[in-house]
């Protein structure tokens, strides 16, 4: 996979590993990433890279949840906020190109769901199985 999505996914896994270690988690259940079309990262390729990058780590088997955000711009001339295409960031209202991006270039690890060893039903569940 010669794309940069793998390198980015490896950076993501490193962050997740650090959080899981800090919280003494046993497993990572899900990883939620907010991503915009102008981040330069292709969601589909990130999904393909995730199992490769997470293999053998605490995030092995975790679900990658992608929150795909829209491209929106605010016009400096008329002040309107409108949806835009990644290749045409002009104001949808007045057509001016002097706009600021409101949303669309995000690439953010927004949330991690961890499974705990001590307080969860995971441990209790194992105990119950053992007693059966």
């Amino acid at each position: 996979m010669p794309m940069h999505e793998l390198a980015i996914c490896q950076a993501l896994i490193e962050q997740v590993e650090a959080i899981a270690a800090e919280r003494l988690a046993q497993r990572v259940d899900s990883v939620c990433v907010s991503i915009g079309p102008l981040s330069g990262v292709e969601p589909r390729l990130l999904e393909q890279a995730f199992p490769v990058a997470s293999a053998g780590t605490i995030a092995d088997g975790a679900t990658l949840v992608l929150d795909c955000l829209p491209v929106q711009v605010r016009c400096r001339q008329c002040g309107e906020v409108s949806d835009a295409l990644p290749s045409r960031l002009i104001c949808g209202s007045c057509g001016d190109w002097h706009t600021d991006l409101v949303s669309g270039d995000e690439l953010i690890l927004s949330r991690v769901e961890l499974l705990q060893a001590d307080s969860g039903s995971e441990a209790a569940g194992h105990a119950a199985t053992g007693n059966r």
């Binding site: 990433v33 102008l38 690439l107 949330r111 769901e113 499974l115």
Partner: protein, 265 residues
Amino acid sequence: MCDTCGCNVTHGNAHLLKPGGRLQKTAEGREAVSVLHGLLHENDHTAAHNREHFDRHNVLVVNLMSSPGAGKTSLLEATIEALDGDLKMAVIEGDLETENDASRIRARGVEAVQITTGSACHLDAHMVHDALHHMQLDGLDILFIENVGNLVCPASFDLGQHHNVTLLSVPEGDDKPAKYPVMFRAADLMLLSKADLLPVLDDFSPDNARRHLQELANPAPVIELSAKTGNGLDEWLGWLREARLQRRAAMTQTEAEDAATATAP
């Protein structure tokens, strides 16, 4: 302190455990942690470190990006000739393989460090950091980083540069900014390279290229340039000199502010 009876919950951290808090526990031993970190946090951290290093040495750093074969190395060769030692420069070259580009630069008497990335399609801040260990920044005016030829991946990685310069060569077509918006949105200057081919490739319209760039809400200037004939080189050198002056002015202002803070009671 334990995680069972709640004795570790204090006034200071209770808000983190409430619904929506950073350390909220959900059902079945699940813990949801809100993070809100950029995925490239680690890269960006190193990039900031690189930038501090450049600023300490008062060097303007320009990241050159384009497709493979758009003429980045030829531009640097022409720039070295035209500057004729007026500004002291060095180059970090990024390629998948070979020292060819670094050799071309060295042949003109300018220091060049080659980074070979293997299969990686871009430079990242760590690679540039490592390259800096092989360079002397003292006395340099401009450091060029010639990124791997690629209009996709290099745009995602901050290297610590002060400016991005993106080349669009005439044979590539004038709609490249619309096709690669992430790359061209990041450009502080767009160079239309191989402009000597404009009379031959008359389907390339510099006005269209400008319009596509503007439609990315990017007000960056555009220079038509031919490294072969030298047309446009003066304008390019003018941009470089101006960028360097602005850099120096920004540094002087920071130093003055630091001195004021240091002497404040």
